[in-house]
């Protein structure tokens, strides 16, 4: 568990700079299809993952780069995945919204809002029961946004988790908007009320503060590991950048510039930076730039996958699908 103030700063800063580099690569056309930038929300991934063990399991969302990096994925392989290269985490088959590294307990980002909750509950349940395995104390974390709390399947998943005391954290990143729809226009009652309805502890924390998130996550993780079941943590946060990089061209208007500027005054990177020495910060920053320079170089110099293998991995058994082009 890397959970010192310097660790939290390093992860927060890494995600920030990774995302800024990724946005540049979108604009340059290296990353096709765009991304959902995590900029502004870094404290949540950093704080929660600092409370986890390598064997713990996470699932993520369309805005998932932060979680995947915070759980330990190699930034170079991650960036190569975003660029659709065969050296990527998923060999270029998943892209931004599906990055996964099962060797690190990263059971994938998921592009359907709210879909990952039940998958996490099943994975955490199984890890605990897996015959002959060492998953006795494994904890699962499902990250999702405020939009997901309107998805029935997520609420069903909370019910299952509470009912069967599955060691899971439901981490809601409430950034105020489901794409363009405000929480006020989408959520009746409260987000924590949904957790409370299933009899699980549900708390709201400052999602801009990595340490506050870590403290809340640690309590929930301890509870889950001890066999006392799931918790819900609502992290109040703000997305600085677009819902998706298409907004950089489309100019969809749903929040005014003042609101964004105001929110940027509360910066998780700066909040955590204030907890370490300037010298330490400079060292970490320099190291991150080196790592990311190498990551970008690795991604752009990596080969594109061979189209002949477009349906490789479609079936785990290696079964081949019929071709679509004549016979």
């Amino acid at each position: 568990m890397a959970d010192t103030p310097a660790d939290l700063y390093r992860t927060t800063r890494l995600i920030r700079r990774f995302e800024e580099r990724a946005v540049e690569l979108v604009h340059k056309g290296v990353i096709v299809g765009g991304i959902h930038p995590y900029i502004g929300q870094e404290a949540i991934a950093a704080g929660v993952c600092a409370a986890l063990r390598p064997t713990d399991i996470i699932t993520s969302t369309h805005r998932g780069h932060g979680h995947v990096l915070a759980k330990g994925a190699d930034p170079a392989k991650m960036l190569a995945e975003l660029a659709g290269r065969s050296t990527g985490l998923n060999k270029g088959r998943g892209g931004s919204m599906h990055a996964a590294d099962f060797s690190l307990g990263i059971f994938g980002a998921n592009a359907i809002v709210g879909a990952n909750g039940a998958i996490t509950v099943g994975a955490a349940w199984a890890a605990r029961r897996k015959a002959g395995g060492n998953g006795e104390n494994t904890v699962g974390v499902s990250f999702f946004g405020d939009g997901a709390v309107s998805q029935g399947v997520l609420l069903e998943a909370m019910n299952l988790a509470a009912l069967w005391k599955v060691p899971v954290l439901f981490v809601c990143e409430n950034n105020g908007y489901a794409t363009t729809l405000t929480v006020e226009d989408a959520v009746a009652g409260t987000i924590t009320g949904r957790g409370a309805a299933f009899g699980m502890p549900a708390t709201t924390v400052d999602g801009m503060d990595p340490q506050a998130v870590l403290d809340a996550a640690r309590e929930a993780v301890d509870r889950a590991r001890a066999g006392n079941g799931p918790s819900l943590i609502e992290c109040l946060t703000y997305r600085y950048d677009a819902h998706h990089t298409w907004e950089h061209k489309a100019r969809v208007r749903y929040r005014d510039n003042d609101e964004v500027a105001q929110a940027r005054n509360t910066d998780p990177v700066e909040i955590q930076a204030a907890r370490i020495s300037p010298v330490e910060r400079a060292e970490i920053d320099a190291r991150i730039e080196t790592v990311l320079d190498e990551a970008v170089a690795f991604a752009v110099s990596s080969p594109h996958p061979d189209p002949a293998g477009a349906l490789d991995y479609l079936y785990a058994t290696g079964m081949r699908a019929r071709s679509g082009g004549g016979w």
Partner: protein, 323 residues
């Protein structure tokens, strides 16, 4: 020799796999008391950790199974009603099925979805009478449709052992079928290997699921007029194209009887593939549910939209007339 019922065959397959592999577990609605009969005795034998009664949360427990499979287990879900396969289409087609490719082969999702009683159950009306195997074949989920108790046993065992998601449709119309079987002869049946139930030389009738039994009855009735080969693909996806082409290459005529709606149903795919690869003596024919069919409640109406033996006879006579 003991008489093996279709339901008992499914029950035996579940029992054997639960006993053989500690990673196998079964979940679903009302399965402890075995409302469908298929899970009878499993709860007493294997306990609550391996036989899980779920709340009525089909979408969540379907993805719960995906998660458990990603973590190394082999869940088998029983769905009480075939139309629930529409409700969980996202969880199977868009989640479980896509994990292997999207992760570049990092994981497997060995989940079996068992639908004991698919198709019309006689009197259960519009929302309990679908038979959506063509839909699952279309998206590329492995889909099996056993017609007999021995194939039900063998294909369910194979489905559970397969590393991909597999849907097992046990047709309501086949659940009453019994077979004289020596239990020692029960064995896994590979996916994608069809079975010729009756050999013939004039026309190949491809029959899916319970309609195999109708096709065999019709073939017997018409035996004096035509030598009919009855081909049962057993697995609709992957399909035994080689087996089918071998049969049609011999007979030169093709009729398909398929309990799917007509548009984009398996019958259309079977005829298209044969047309691409074989020189037919006569234009092929298919007997299906009508386009867009919703099964009406009243029994005569229910029967009116299901493929019938009379329609099959007419279709066979039609293809025999030509050429």
């Amino acid at each position: 020799m003991p008489r093996l019922s279709y339901q008992k065959a499914l029950n035996r397959a579940l029992t054997d796999e639960l006993a053989r592999d500690p990673d196998v577990f079964v979940l679903g609605e009302d399965i402890r008391v075995a409302v469908s009969n298929v899970t009878a005795g499993l709860f007493d034998k294997f306990g609550p950790e391996r036989v899980l009664d779920t709340p009525l949360s089909e979408q969540a427990f379907t993805s719960f199974a995906t998660g458990a499979a990603l973590a190394g287990m082999r869940p088998v879900i029983e769905f009480q009603i075939p139309s629930l396969l529409f409700l969980v289409f996202e969880q199977i087609a868009n989640q479980a099925h896509k994990f292997s490719l999207m992760t570049g082969g990092q994981c497997t999702v060995p989940v079996t979805y068992l639908v004991p009683g698919s198709g019309s159950r006689t009197g259960w009306a519009g929302q309990h009478s679908d038979h959506p195997y063509s839909l699952y074949a279309h998206v590329g989920v492995k889909t099996v449709l056993p017609a007999t108790p021995t194939d039900a046993y063998g294909l369910l065992v194979t489905a559970i052992r397969d590393d991909d998601p597999v849907v097992v449709f046990a047709p309501a119309g086949a659940l009453a079928v019994r077979e004289d079987v020596d239990y020692a002869d029960l064995q896994p049946v590979p996916l994608g290997v069809g079975r010729v139930h009756r050999a013939g030389t004039d026309v190949t009738v491809v029959a899916l699921g319970h309609l195999v039994h109708d096709a065999l009855a019709v073939a017997e009735e018409m035996a004096r007029d035509a030598s009919i080969e009855v081909f049962d693909p057993r697995t609709v996806y992957p399909f035994d194209w080689d087996g089918l082409i071998a049969s049609v290459s011999k007979t030169g005529r093709l009729v398909v009887i398929d309990d799917s709606n007509r548009t984009s149903g398996m019958a259309g795919e079977i005829i298209a593939t044969v047309a691409e690869q074989c020189q037919l003596t006569a234009p092929p024919a298919r007997v299906t549910r009508p386009d867009g069919a919703v099964l009406p409640f009243a029994l005569d109406l229910d029967r009116a939209v299901q493929p019938s033996r009379a329609q099959l006879v007419t279709a066979i006579q039609g293809v025999m007339k030509d050429g």
